[in-house]
């Protein structure tokens, strides 16, 4: 049992900290259901000197895993906009301040929606790392906002096909178009007219010739988002 637990701890290392190649990532993801059961055992035995299973775990075995994935991204976005809205860059116009307030409340609403919808299945709160963002600089804030929104669109578009419940799929669809509206607006602030410049989104899976927006699977999204998260996010059953 002890050996298995150690093996589990190794396998469940964060996708954020590990530079995993695709092949090894899939191997690790395949550790699967056995991993989470052992993880629970590991937590209980913390007081006996067995290392605690750190961070949060996204278990993609069912819709709750996908919803928790969305919950994680919404936590990140909400934290970012709360910080911007509370102390916007000094050269934001009044209209921009008002719209960033709006976006802040949208992301908070999304975050709280997932928390309530998931109820006891919800992951814990993530600790964010915005050290790479200069919140006094309009350029830095808009650049980060654009990255968050475009990534959010890519994430929802790429994860929708995993959802099995029609109502959850619809809820995700209701949110992703609002994220796309944010992306459009913020891109227009960065460079007016770039609202849907799909040629700049090919790295996120967009296809300009087909008029198709970004779409990325969770294994591609999480390492990008990981730059802004301190909490370890473990992924199983992906």
């Amino acid at each position: 049992m002890k050996n298995l637990q150690e093996q589990n701890t190794q396998e469940a290392q964060s996708v954020f900290t590990a530079q995993l190649q695709r092949r090894s990532f899939l191997q690790y993801a395949g550790a699967g259901a056995a991993g989470i059961a052992l993880m629970a055992a590991g937590c209980k035995k913390r007081d006996r000197g067995i290392p605690e299973y750190e961070g949060v775990t996204l278990d993609f075995k069912d819709d709750f895993g996908v919803l928790n994935y969305a919950y994680a991204l919404e936590q990140l976005e909400a934290a970012f906009y709360i910080q911007v809205a509370s102390a916007p860059p000094s050269d934001f116009t009044a209209a921009q301040k008002a719209y960033f307030q709006d976006i802040q409340f949208h992301e908070i609403a999304h975050r709280e929606y997932f928390k309530k919808a998931l109820s006891t299945a919800a992951i814990g709160s993530l600790e964010v790392d915005f050290s790479s963002i200069d919140f006094t600089s309009k350029t830095s804030v808009l650049g980060a906002a654009m990255a968050f929104e475009d990534l959010g669109v890519a994430a929802y578009n790429g994860a929708g096909v995993r959802l099995k419940d029609t109502n959850y799929l619809l809820a995700a669809g209701k949110i992703v178009s609002v994220e796309a509206r944010h992306a459009s607006y913020i891109r227009d602030l960065v460079s007016y007219g770039s609202f849907a410049d799909l040629t700049t989104l090919t790295a996120l899976g967009a296809n300009n010739a087909g008029g198709l927006d970004a779409a990325l699977t969770p294994d591609k999204v999480l390492p990008i988002a990981g730059k802004y998260v301190k909490t370890k996010i473990n992924v199983i059953n992906l």
Binding site: I108, G173, R181, S184, Y185, D197, G210
Partner: protein
Amino acid sequence: MNIVNILEEIEKVDGEIYERLNPRRAAMKDFFNMSKKITLAAMPLAMGSLFQKAYGQTAPSSVTEVLNFALTLEYLEYHFYNHAVVAAPGLIPAGTPAVGAITTIRDHEKAHVDLLKGALGGAARPALAYTDFDFTAKGTFPDVYTNYQTFLAVAQAFEDTGVRAYKGQAGVLKGNAVLTTALQIHSVEARHAAHIRFMRSGGPNGGGAAIKPWISLGANGGANDTGIPQVDPVYAGEDLDVQTGVTITGIANGVTKAKAVESFDEPLSSAQVLTIAGLFLK
């Protein structure tokens, strides 16, 4: 409004439309008689109830039906923008960013038409030409190609309808690889919608219509936030603030009803969308 032409258009997609409407011809005759007595403004609602009956629970149920439904909408959007770009001189202010924006959107709609046509192959609906449409909606928007603000207002209605229409078909495409492609089109339409709204508000310099990139609550708490009552059917139900049983208004400090409504875009049923599209089909 020529309902017969609209029904013919739907018949191309759904061969059983007349049967769905009512197997008894007398009932259809009643509807035609009734339609003569009601005003144009009331027609969308009357049509809505008719199509609701027609499709009911059995709205486009196969992937092919959904893709043809989407193709109809993309034809509508493409021809609307293409005519503005190539055949309505002076409409879009020359030398402004609007020319590039409308051209970009036109190009995306064309890409969507080509993509859907290619995916459907021989099952694709008959092509629709510019001449198949009446973008004045039988005179509701008489200056759509001569008044830039009217043009933008109709564009906004089309884009917001497009977003809602794709969303409404998500359930049919659930778990299918086609869903991802549909979602990728859906969010591009949302980017367009937000940009057209931003253009209407005056862009970065402001000074235009009091409208946000996201769909908010309308005046007096109504679902239509555009200030244009003629497009009420486009925004029907957008004021919903309960999602999968979770009430969003008040879910956290500062999340008012308006913010709750802005946070979630609502779908339209295929019947609602066909009603709207029907207003612009000859």
